[in-house]
């Protein structure tokens, strides 16, 4: 037969592992509801953003999220 269903039959270990893993819920995908955007940024401004983010110990993305949220409030 040319058609093969790869997960139709799982080895015993995989089935046991699946049961073990699924016994507890997996938290929501942290990236769910988010999208990737490409933006043109002034290099000097981006540098200042990175420096501000670094001082707060957060990522550039997290810093921009906070700044945008504050601006919209």
């Amino acid at each position: 037969m040319a058609i093969k269903m790869p997960h139709a039959v799982k080895p015993d270990t995989d089935r046991k592992a699946d049961a073990f893993i699924r016994a507890k819920p997996t938290l929501t995908d942290p990236d769910a509801g988010k999208t990737v955007v490409n933006m043109r940024f002034d290099v000097a401004l981006l540098k200042r953003i990175d420096e501000a983010a670094r001082k707060q110990g957060i990522s550039r993305t997290a810093w921009l999220h906070v700044a945008a949220s504050k601006a919209l409030e």
């Binding site: 592992a17 073990f20 016994a23 997996t26 957060i58």
Partner: protein, 226 residues
């Protein structure tokens, strides 16, 4: 080797260990992948800051995975890297369980506090359950955010010895500012200035204890700098 740093309890200072260990391994020339399976995403943030650091320290790859995907992806990714470090959140989740099914070693940090040590029995039970799937899993415990003085560390170590199926490492990571300070700059304590020699020695001792059979094969530059 696949190392998972895991606990079912939060607040044990767990987030600092995986990235510090990964950074030391990268500094030693190993090709390292960090899987951030913690919803807080601290390891991914650390890696992002690290990538933007100047001068650039030795880099490691970081991806975010959760649940059964960790087990599925590890079958492919595990072969591509010398070392894999998985950071799971401080709860019993599908992600933590998936990590236990693929890890060679699970490192379980404990603070030298009664309430933390009480969590020893349930995490040991979970490890025992995981061994039905992953027979070769080695479980180690370590005192983390330990006291710089007093008897609580010794008492806690004695308590760790009573946890079935979990081997206590005779080491401790003491609560030192160097850890959070270096973390916020995307660096391990071994790379951070001002250098805290005690913190560096503690970290490198943990890495050596976990990777001793692999350390002998390559140059330990980070230890020399200490």
């Amino acid at each position: 080797m696949i190392l998972s740093v895991a606990h079912i309890k939060g607040g044990v200072g767990k987030s600092l260990l995986p990235v510090n260990i990964a950074a030391v391994l990268a500094q030693r020339g190993r090709d390292v992948l960090v899987i951030d399976a913690d919803e807080q995403g601290s390891a991914a943030t650390f890696a992002q800051i690290r990538a933007e650091a100047n001068p650039q320290p030795a880099q490691f790859a970081t991806i975010r995975l959760c649940g059964a995907a960790i087990r599925q992806q590890m079958t492919k990714l595990g072969e591509k890297y010398d070392e894999v470090v998985i950071d799971t959140g401080g709860r019993d989740t599908g992600s933590l369980r998936a990590a236990l099914t693929v890890a060679d070693v699970v490192l379980i940090p404990f603070q030298p506090r009664s309430v933390d040590l009480w969590a020893g029995a349930p995490i040991a039970a979970l490890v025992a359950e995981a061994k039905h799937v992953n027979e070769a899993l080695r479980a180690c415990s370590i005192l983390n955010m330990a006291d710089s003085q007093g008897h609580d560390n010794e008492d806690a170590f004695d308590a760790l010895k009573t946890i079935d199926g979990v081997e206590p490492l005779a080491l401790a990571i003491v609560r030192r500012k160097a850890f959070p300070n270096s973390f916020s700059n995307g660096l391990s304590v071994a790379e951070h200035t001002p250098r805290d020699p005690k913190a560096v020695d503690e970290l490198l001792s943990v890495v050596d204890a976990l990777y001793i059979h692999r350390v002998n094969g390559y140059q330990d530059a980070s230890r020399r700098q200490a």
